[in-house]
Amino acid sequence: MANNNIYDQNEYPGPYQLTWSKFKSDHPAWVCFYLVMGFIFVALFAPLIAPYSAMAQHPEATLLPPSWQTAGDVSFLLGTDDLGRDLLSRLIYGAQITFGLSLLVALVAMIIGVALGALAGASKGLKSSVFNHFFDTILSIPSLLLAIIIVAVLGPGLSNTIWAVLLVLVPQFVHSTRIAIQAELKKEYVTAARLDGANEWQILKNSVFPNIVETLILQYTLAVSTAIIDIAALGFLGLGAQQGSPEWGAMLSESIDLIYRASWLITLPGVTMFLSLLSVNTVGHGLRHALKSRSE
């Protein structure tokens, strides 16, 4: 692209760009960002990447260890479980459930939560107070306990788990959005805009939102990590994904009976879960760090 800038002027990066470049200079976070992208890619294209279907049983190859062990078989890279299902394929399909659904749930929760939060943040008086109390109540109950209760009411199952996690996440977004909006509304440029005659909606849209987007993204990473942990924990407790589903937590609990004989069935799903959580958390950390150092 031709440079139309005829003045030899320093280009100042915008605030988003600044955060982005700060973020990039944080190497672990940058690596983890790629890892997250990798997980997203795997989740999106699981059927194309996975060598087998998650449910395909290979009766002739049960309990094969990972291929780097002597008894392993290269056609089953990470080994197989007791029904002869390929572990790698199951982990890949599991990424779709545990990781992919977490991203989606957190996204939906964000949309609902931000809308409600904006309503709460912009309103004042009794309505706002009732609202706040209600959400503070829900927030003071631990998320997994709340999810367990919701599952207890709805009955176990993956779809109910998703509902439960969604219901758990929404209040968190409402809370953080409300606080961010209220903090922003106190600032002087908002008052200036108001004096210019902007109505509530315009203020929210033009002044407040652009300034809280980053806080929301940060909250989003937290939400994703909560969602992963909760979905997996419920699966592990046998309250979430059905037996046999390649959901990571459920895979772990299903393999406990084989802890001696086939320890890779315990370690590998655990490692995958760990990596996904680590990458999401680190990206969150990096983002927070970048935001902080930008404001400094």
Partner: protein
């Protein structure tokens, strides 16, 4: 101050109200008959059913039902468990101390490890020590707790055979439960050979405590670190430094106290994490606490127990949060003003 207290109490009462309404509605939301769900008695004759329905006020409008329910809760009458057919209040009193005991040890461990490490990391900001501590805590923070539990079992119990994996005490020791806290009960019992029993109880504690303490420790490290950093940057530290205090004195007299105060309100978050982790830890190590009890109740579709456990545990959490707020405001007068403003 009184106004502040009143506000907090107001919050407490409203929150408890919301929770109790939710818990009450569960009795109607759960599958099955409300009379059975509220009373926990499954095999009823028609007459018994009618009597119970009257007694629980379930033939009246919802408002009256709710107040009758509230009255029962305050009296501690939670009905019967479906599966054990015992009073839920008795069962709860049996499992609750176990959870408290485990949580207290885990919190102690987390404090003993988390605060010093956080302090160290904060003081050596951006040096190697800080980076090592920070990375370790990020890693520990990302390991799913149920996986840690399994790995610990695999390593210390199955491969090395050092530590037991379930329960609070070898079942051959018959310790009558007076308080529900193992160590106190052992002291109160008249069993021979107490040292061996204490040792056994202690060995049973190690793995669950480590598992449970992991997450709170990482949280504490993070909180303490950022708090120490902000204290170190404040004016009064500079002033103290100019007064010629040695580094050690400075830390001991000024930094530690001032760094711990601001993280007190965040303890609510800490307890939340602890409660969540406690449920999973108890499940993995068959620790007979509230979490284990609740999860078994869900497997067994024991609705009265689920309903009660929800009510008590969340009320307890809310209560704890408010209590922390109040303690914090007593110790730190600045907060009170903030909240008025």
């Amino acid at each position: 101050m009184y106004i502040y207290l009143l506000r907090r109490l107001n919050l407490l009462v409203t929150t408890l109200f919301v929770i109790s309404v939710f818990s009450f509605s569960l009795g109607h939301l759960f599958p099955g008959d409300p009379v059975v769900n509220f009373s926990g008695q499954q095999s009823l004759t028609f007459e018994e059913y009618d009597v119970l329905e009257k007694k629980l006020a379930l033939d009246k409008p919802y408002m009256v039902q709710y107040f009758a329910y509230l009255e029962r809760m305050i009296e501690g009458d939670f009905g019967f468990s479906f599966s054990s057919e015992r009073h839920i209040s008795d069962e709860f009193l049996r499992v609750f101390p176990a959870t408290i005991e485990l949580s207290v040890y885990a919190i102690l461990v987390a404090l003993c490890i988390g605060l010093p490490l956080g302090l160290l990391a904060g003081l050596k900001k951006n040096k190697v020590v800080d980076k090592v501590i920070f990375s370790l805590s990020t890693i520990a923070n990302s390991v799913p707790i149920f996986w840690i539990g399994l790995l610990l079992i695999l390593l210390f119990s199955l491969n090395l055979g050092w530590l037991p994996i379930s329960g609070r005490l070898n079942l051959l020791y018959e310790i009558p439960a007076h308080t529900g806290f193992v160590f106190i009960d052992i002291a109160l019992s008249d069993i021979d050979n107490k040292p061996a029993v204490y040792q056994n109880a202690f060995l049973h504690l190690i793995l669950p405590t480590i598992t449970l303490a992991t997450l709170p420790t990482t949280l504490l490290i993070g909180m303490m670190r950022s708090s120490v950093i902000s204290v170190m940057n404040s004016q009064f530290i500079k002033a103290a430094r100019t007064k010629g205090l040695s580094y050690y004195q400075l830390i001991r007299r000024h930094v530690v106290k001032n760094a711990i105060l601001p993280i007190l309100p965040q303890f609510g978050l800490l307890f939340n994490t602890l409660m969540t982790s406690a449920m999973i830890t108890e499940f993995i190590f068959s620790w007979p606490g509230v979490g284990y009890w609740l999860i078994e109740a869900i497997y067994q579709r024991d609705y009265p127990v689920i309903q009660t456990a929800l009510l008590i545990v969340s009320a307890f959490m809310v209560f704890l949060n408010v209590l922390l707020d109040i303690i914090h405001s007593l110790l730190n007068p600045i907060v009170r003003k903030d909240i008025h403003g």
